[in-house]
């Protein structure tokens, strides 16, 4: 939607063709840049940036005084579930995009778990058209790897990619059939297509409500051992080894999985991995007395696992942080824990929740932002995620220190299942720009 948004920005309410951010702290994880300066936007792209623009606004450009706050590439969220099409009462592309804009997210990669499943070219076209018409941020599509996400027959990977799909996933389910997974990797390699896989052995995880361990035992909940994740991941890595397919484990959550990823990396395999913000900032104890907003997939793990994930992120072993935004309405969440739906919304709280790790001195700003900007951009082959001349003007201005308390009723998502509800977070999105057009301004 880049071009269209640029056009509408140029002709729309903003009026000016160009905007200059002055007096900002420029942070660009792609280049390692972290310096005071300014940035000029013209025709929807970054026209200039650097220290020389810190105080000097070019004539004719609309001036935004950043007051020393951070200007960085807009966040790219590589895993967002919406209900569009088919479950619009949970979330539409439009409402998801408003939540994204308020969270500083300028690109959302939508998962194929919709009704119908995004497994055909016509549906990719449909989502792209809906996004163009309704969404205020960029929408990328991760299409179904298998027809109907059933894990039985390959979807039309070549044709879907030509239609614009940036990756292929089996959604919330793992592919159980090893031969299908092998053929998927082998076939997608010919197209350079990326496979994004949720790793969880269905035989082990079926019926489980949370992570195995003391907490699950006390609560009397059916549980799944974290090995269910590592087993599938290990199998997949073996398959990558024999096929050469590009593979991304979408949301790993335990220390054992990290060992598999590190080993794959040391063998130079085309393997990468992501982690959800929930698994970086929450653990199984947060479930407390059956709080279903903490019921997610994979389930929240122990504190040891959470710490291992954060350390791996700081060390660069984890490539991408996703919100794993998964809107669920009250009907499916206000149920006994084991019967409640999985999923938590997270677009609007992604940045502030991630900054918890920064404020706790667990990770620096650059590596933290890298996992939400340039890394997902490279993974999905997107032009954004970087501050450089000619790159799309997808930008985020934020104050890393400003505290606020999450009130789920104030969140823009159509569903309100936030695990951060009533929590104090530190770090406020001030402005979000997509292709040169301001799509969110704090307080207005």
């Amino acid at each position: 939607m880049g071009k269209d948004a640029a056009m509408s920005g140029a002709n729309g309410a903003q009026g000016a063709d160009s905007t200059v951010f002055i007096n900002v702290r420029l942070i660009d994880p792609a280049s390692g840049r972290d310096e005071p300066g300014g940035l000029l936007v013209a025709d929807g792209v970054i026209a200039d940036l650097g220290g020389h623009l810190r105080r000097n606004a070019p004539a004719g450009a609309a001036v935004v005084d950043g007051q020393g706050h951070i200007l960085c590439p807009g966040l790219i969220d590589a895993q967002v579930y919406t209900g569009d099409p088919g479950q619009e009462h949970r979330e539409t592309l439009k409402t998801a995009s408003f939540a994204a804009a308020a969270g500083g997210v300028t690109t959302i990669a939508c998962m194929p778990d919709t009704e119908p499943v995004i497994d055909q070219v016509a549906l990719v076209d449909y989502v792209q058209r809906r996004a163009r018409e309704r969404a205020i941020v960029n929408v990328s599509i991760i299409a179904a790897l298998t027809r109907g996400l059933k894990g039985e027959e390959l979807a039309e990977i070549g044709l879907l990619q030509r239609a614009g799909a940036v990756g292929f996933s089996n959604g919330k389910g793992s592919i159980a059939n090893t031969r299908i997974m092998r053929n998927a990797l082998l076939y997608s390699k010919d197209f350079g297509a990326l496979i994004v896989h949720h790793t969880e052995d269905p035989g082990l995880s079926n019926g489980a409500a949370m992570n195995s361990g003391e907490v699950a035992t006390r609560l009397g909940l059916p549980s799944v051992h974290k090995a269910a994740e590592t087993i599938v991941l290990e199998r997949d890595v073996r398959l990558v080894e024999i096929t050469g397919g590009r593979y991304h484990a979408s949301t790993i959550s335990c220390a054992e999985s990290l060992a598999v990823i590190r080993s794959a990396r040391s063998r130079k395999l085309p393997v990468s991995c992501g982690v959800s913000i929930n698994h970086l900032t929450l653990n199984e104890n947060d479930i407390g007395s059956y709080r279903t907003f903490y019921k997610v997939r994979p389930p929240l793990r122990s504190e040891d696992d959470r710490v291992a994930m954060v350390r791996a992120l700081a060390a660069g072993d984890i490539d991408v942080i996703v919100s794993s935004h998964d809107p669920q309405d009250a009907d499916v969440k206000r149920r006994p824990f084991a019967e409640a739906a999985d999923g938590a919304i997270g677009l609007e709280t992604l940045l502030a929740a991630a900054l918890r790790l920064y404020h706790a001195d667990e990770i620096g700003l650059l590596p933290l932002l890298r996992a939400m900007t340039i890394n997902p951009a490279k993974l999905l082959g997107l032009p954004g995620g970087r501050l450089e001349k000619g790159a799309p003007a997808d930008l985020l201005l934020f104050d890393p220190n400003q505290p606020w308390v999450v009130d789920r009723e104030q969140l823009r998502s159509r569903s309100k299942n936030s695990p951060f509800d009533e929590q104090k977070l530190q770090g406020r999105v001030l402005k979000t720009m997509v292709a040169g057009r301001m799509v969110y301004q704090y307080g207005s």
Binding site: E153, L154, E156, G158, L159, N183, Y187
Partner: protein, 317 residues
């Protein structure tokens, strides 16, 4: 009509089980003989008597129309008594083992046994147990020697040579016995072999048999003299090795656009039966450069040559 073979005939083998290891000299000998048979087949009286008194049994464990008919015709034109064993309704269906079937047939004293079987290696196993000459008419995904020879004959007649030509074999290489036999024959004859298929339809290590592998058909056909298409077995393919026949046709079906990547005089071949609109566009199948019908014609000639060559080693008393 002359029954004398050209003096140059050189084919020392007792059976024809595989193309692996055949020399250019042996192949050329068979093709020379087949050339003569092809000429004979154009005449009103196609019948010769080099196999008079001989018994040829067609033993087909797998359904076949064209290969079986082709062997039957070849045997009859050379004067042999031909019997077709319909194995699906025979004692094999009642649970008889392959070896027992072989021993039973052997007791009927055939001279030539043409065998097709769904399991790779089955024909060779059978050949070890019988006293007659055995011809492999296709064993699993292993080999189909007479198909490769008829392809070679078709190419040689159309192009005047095989050495130095670039041949692209396209499609389901993984399950194809035709591809494997062709790789051996074409390499022996000095052609360059390319294989074009999605990675899911390429068996591991196939390049070691003497071929360059392409997963992009546009690149694979660039500068080719021959485009040889293989049949896609839709029922067992779809969703597993390739997503759909629609996608397969888009990326690996032979249409005018992809054919334009090959040389302007490139020939189009297909061992049949074709899935029009899946691996080959209907207009391409009927293209002026298509030699698909010639392949069928050469099939009879090549099988006559093979029968005649093997019959020379049969005891005469």
């Amino acid at each position: 009509m002359s029954t004398a073979a050209p003096p140059s005939l050189y084919f020392p083998g007792r059976h024809l089980l595989t193309c692996e290891g055949l020399s250019a000299k042996e192949i050329n000998s068979l093709l020379d003989l087949a050339d003569r048979a092809a000429d004979t087949n154009k005449q009103v009286n196609k019948k010769r008597d080099v196999l008079r008194g001989r018994t040829l049994i067609n033993l087909f464990f797998e359904v076949s129309t064209r290969t079986q008919a082709s062997f039957e015709l070849a045997g009859k034109r050379l004067g042999a008594d031909v019997m077709n064993m319909n194995v699906a309704t025979s004692s094999v269906a009642k649970g008889e083992s392959l070896i027992d079937t072989a021993m039973t047939l052997n007791a009927m004293r055939p001279d030539l046994l043409v065998v097709r079987h769904h399991a790779a290696g089955a024909v060779e196993l059978l050949a070890q147990k019988v006293d007659c000459s055995v011809i492999n008419a296709g064993d699993g995904a292993h080999e189909h020697p007479t198909q490769a020879l008829l392809d070679a004959l078709t190419i040689r007649r159309a192009k005047g040579r095989i050495a130095g030509l670039t041949v692209a074999i396209c499609g389901d290489i993984l399950h194809s016995r035709v591809a494997r036999s062709n790789i051996h024959v074409l390499n022996a004859m000095g052609a360059r072999v390319r294989l074009v298929a999605p990675s899911t339809l390429l068996p591991t290590g196939i390049e070691r048999l003497g071929a360059e592998v392409y997963t992009d058909m546009w690149k694979g056909l660039e500068g080719c003299d021959i485009v040889m298409m293989l049949r896609l077995q839709r029922e067992r393919m779809e969703g597993n090795y390739v997503p759909t026949s629609r996608e397969y046709y888009h990326f690996f079906g032979l249409d005018q656009e992809k054919l334009d990547c090959a040389k302007p005089d490139a020939l189009i071949m297909h061992p049949g039966p074709m899935n029009r609109g899946v691996e080959i566009a209907s207009t391409i199948a009927d293209h002026s450069r298509s030699v698909i019908r010639e392949q069928v014609e050469m099939g009879v000639a090549v099988r006559m040559a093979v029968l005649e060559a093997l019959a020379r080693h049969l005891p005469n008393h």
